[in-house]
């Protein structure tokens, strides 16, 4: 089982992984690549990952979520490779009998992911330049740009 994918995330398939007749509430989070406005000229983000570690980390985050909300079912996919503006780089789906658990488990997973995964982003611009984005949100000149 890998939580990483190089292809657009199929939300229907992710929902199907966790839904069942006992699920009353489902919370989905989609993180999408933003354009940053015309001035930025961002057309996509290239995601690179330490695949095996990112997969292991996501597995640990899901295990934590399941331990906290035993009645919830949670699934996650994270994109790697080039993700165009408006496409989802991450999708999290949490179902539970009641909505509070679904919201809380979903929120828990995205907050844990944002604490840091071994995944790195390079912004690709219309003019052909590319810059790594570090945690602080400040672009770092890339060697190849």
């Amino acid at each position: 089982m890998t939580f990483l994918t190089a292809h657009p995330i199929a939300l229907d398939a992710l929902l199907a992984e966790v839904q069942g007749p006992d699920a009353g509430g489902t919370c989905v989070f989609l993180g999408t690549v933003r354009s940053g406005g015309e001035a930025d000229g961002i057309i996509a983000i290239e995601y690179s990952a330490y695949d095996a570690m990112a997969d292991a980390e996501l597995g640990r985050i899901l295990a934590d979520a399941r331990a906290r909300w035993p009645e919830a079912r949670v699934a996650v996919r994270h994109r790697v490779g080039r993700v165009p503006v408006s496409e989802a780089s991450i999708a999290i789906v949490a179902t539970a009998a009641h909505r509070a658990e679904a919201f809380d488990a979903c929120r828990y997973v995205i907050e844990a992911v944002k604490q840091g995964l071994p995944v790195w982003k390079k912004e690709l611009r219309r003019d052909g330049t590319a810059t790594w984005v570090d945690l602080s949100g400040e672009p770092v000149p890339a060697r190849d740009s």
Binding site: V119, D134, S136
Partner: protein, 82 residues
């Protein structure tokens, strides 16, 4: 002696000009020792920050963690995700 697999990611792979290497270090060497060794053998590694994030066998560790033969050590730019 212990042979350790070393990986660089994202900007660090660009700085070092390599994604992977292997180094041989004494028994009971630390991740920090591995980093010093890497700086000696890979010119571009001099531009890595003094104390980068590190992972040992897919888990983030302090630079003081001890490595064993066959371990995988990775040096990681600030983590993002999501």
């Amino acid at each position: 002696m212990a042979t350790v697999h070393v990986r660089f990611f994202a900007r660090y792979a660009e700085l070092t000009g390599t994604a992977t290497t292997a180094v041989t270090v004494p028994v009971n060497a630390t991740v920090s020792d591995v980093l010093h060794h890497v700086r000696d053998i890979i010119p571009g590694a001099a531009t890595l920050p003094p104390r980068p994030l590190a992972a040992l066998n897919l888990r983030q560790v302090r630079l003081t963690a001890t490595v064993r033969d066959g371990d995988e050590v990775a040096f990681l730019p600030p983590l993002a995700g999501g």
